[in-house]
Subunit: 431 residues, 2 copies
């Protein structure tokens, strides 16, 4: 089944909003065996939407649109679908009643334009929206089926999961492809690709590399007969070739994996953060239930805080400044002791855009303190590509990944080396 | 000048990557007066790219593509452009030399497939990439001009700013529209839209609302003669109607505004975070130079840390648990004193997915301690829409915005009320 996506909204063309809806839909549809062949964004103009839907149905079996179903006058997807189908918009009594009830329950007055959300193209099916006011619509056009969903991500996702996907799965049958994503940390993309050359050459196997700062996701796709069975063998070979850098699969974040490892041992961690300003803590607490393994932390942004709250010796700071391996080690031990956790993880360094105390941007030391000891194991320089407007964010993100990966390796009793074939983390050529 | 975007990459259709490139390009082009009329994503297939480029040039004056210029065999944009132009790919000697030099400088060996990046369609112009290996290309087709840029965001942006935008600006001339984005915090979108009804009705004025958790951006577009002059008047009226909820313009984040206000007064802040796990600190340190106003903080995720590091009285925690207004106030005073800052900002609450100590998801208390006093001014419940898989992230993000906005209002001597016409923050109907 070939599906095209049509995302409607001036704010997307203007770049005020990033198209997260298209990404989510692509992932969801692919996982359910549909083939997403194109994704188009157009503005809030009736005729442009009519043309885009019609042309998409010349290529695909179904089109899913998002956006343009709200109450305001720039919401014209409803009008466009009526026009494409050659029918009128009619007020749906049940929808109107539901809108009035929702507003009354909230003790507020109905804005007259909100009633636009009760208008549907004649003959269209209303797709219940259990998460909000704007309903979805299913419209049959000569070229195929159009599912129109609201643009509010949470509402779109709800209708998709509750209504659209079950319908599409019934029509499209089971997938003929099997997919698996393996997640690696600290390996360079070029090293991953070189190691996996033999897998890339396998018949019916496709690899995609999805790089993030300090992470590479490897998406394996196996097509053809017994795809799922063959995938297991391919995955095993990829794991063999990449070694311990593979930390998880699919949506498992590094923080989630660390959380599970700690929970399995009944251990806890605390973080002392300088350049990341709280990102390590934020990442560790993104997972529900993280309070079992994450005690908390200290954001020691000002140098003085490293001394006062973490007990980093004043002489050390006076002699070397805050960006030094011994400071990272002392911060790690300090936060472990202050919070009474099993481990202390600490980062200090230069996020940029300017050098600090003579250290270039990307200089980062990561300290890890265990029950008995404290040491610095990563440094001195992350493989930061250049120094541009994004560098600060990239350095901060890389620091989070390197710190969590260091803890993961420690929990698994693995070597702290990064596996890129050199003795230490170093600058990678961005090409 | 009408421009269409063509983003190439299976990873975008599959939803492994969110299309940040298209958003950035849309924003940049719009700001420079170009009209971005459509944005299309296709997979890594030569013929599909040829067809998409050709059809885009039937509608638009120029097409900008991103992706498919790298070294691997799924990078086929080069091949597609040669095919569309009816020419061969030829090896560019200068590009090959540059590639070899870059790799030699990094002390590594050239992977043979990297040389693909030195191939260009005959007659195409090479666009220098000062940030990486893959060059951009400018190809003239019968229907118009194609600019092909690499998919690595930093490289794409560099070539765009250094080469493509100056060329387009020369061709397209000055914009006939003027735009301004005002940023508001804590106002509901429906309240913003209702207050701005009279502006919406003005001739030649268009408003777009871009909602985020707890924030609404209002984008004003004025078209026609003297657009810039009229925009000033419209902006003044919008500010009048929205009042102090307008905290900034364009890319100014709430954290940046707070940073500037503090810097202007020579004051500092520290954060004590429970449910946000470090997000407030991470947000406050995203801005370069933030060490002047942000001292650091304590992530008091475990209840015991609130007592040990922040001095929250044990009796208070024993009597009420961690989710209580008095706890928020004590945390704020505690972090202010521990870090020696002018202000202490503290949050405690329930991010979800499960209720905690009988408090529903979205229960959040925010404490603010000034030089003399400490009090809780926001609570008890953020306007969280439902409880789904995203709720935890939304509650955390809302909490950050509410906390920073509270501090901003305090620094400006404004009322802490949210301006939604009720005495306290309460549940908003998600419609």
């Amino acid at each position: 089944m070939r599906v095209e996506l049509l995302t409607v909204g001036d704010e997307l063309l203007l770049g005020d909003t990033v198209n997260g809806n298209a990404a989510w839909l692509g992932r969801r549809l692919t996982d359910h065996g549909a083939d997403v062949t194109r994704s188009v964004v157009v503005g809030d103009e009736t005729d442009v939407i009519v043309a885009a839907v019609t042309s998409a149905l010349e290529r695909a079996d179904a089109v899913i649109t998002t956006g343009g179903l709200g109450p305001t006058y720039d919401d014209v997807t409803r009008d466009a679908l009526a026009k494409a189908a050659g029918v009128a918009l009619v007020r749906d009594a049940a929808l109107e009643r539901r809108l009035r009830e929702r507003v009354a329950r909230a003790g507020r007055e109905l804005q007259p334009m909100a009633l636009r959300m009760a208008d549907v193209p004649e003959g269209a099916r209303v797709l219940a929206n259990s998460a909000g006011s704007a309903p979805g619509l299913r419209v049959e056009l000569p070229g195929g089926t159009v599912y129109a969903l609201p643009g509010v991500p949470f509402e779109m996702r709800t209708i998709m999961d509750e209504v659209v996907l079950p319908e599409l799965a019934e029509i499209a049958g089971l997938p003929a492809v099997a997919r698996r994503t393996l997640r690696t940390a600290r390996l360079w993309e070029s090293v991953v690709a070189t190691r996996l050359a033999e897998v890339e050459a396998m018949d019916g196997v496709k690899l995609a590399y999805l790089p993030d700062p300090a992470e590479v996701k490897v998406r394996i796709t196996v097509a053809g007969a017994d795809a799922a069975g063959r995938l297991a063998g391919v995955e095993a070979r990829v794991r063999e070739l990449l070694g311990p850098a593979v930390y998880g699969v699919e949506d498992e974040s590094l923080a989630l994996v660390v959380h599970r490892l700690l929970a399995g041992r009944g251990e806890t961690v605390a973080a002392a953060e300088s350049l990341t300003g709280g990102l390590i803590g934020a990442e560790l607490t993104r997972t529900p239930g993280s309070s079992a393994t994450y005690g908390g932390g200290v954001v020691a942004y000002a140098t003085d805080v490293k001394r006062r709250l973490l007990g980093v010796p004043g002489e050390l700071l006076a002699a070397h400044g805050a960006v030094h391996p011994d400071v990272a080690a002392a911060m790690a031990a300090g936060v472990r002791d202050a919070l009474g956790t099993t481990y202390g993880l600490a980062v200090t360094g230069v996020a940029g855009p300017d050098p600090q105390d003579g250290h270039p941007v990307g200089t980062v030391y990561i300290g890890l303190a265990g029950p008995q000891e404290s040491r610095t194991v990563v440094g001195p320089r992350l493989p930061v590509p250049g120094n541009g407007p994004e560098t600060r964010g990239v350095v901060r993100r890389m620091t989070v990944v390197h710190a969590l990966e260091l803890l993961r390796r420690r929990l698994l009793g693995l070597d702290a080396e990064d596996g890129n074939g050199e003795g230490r983390v170093d600058r990678e050529d961005p090409g």
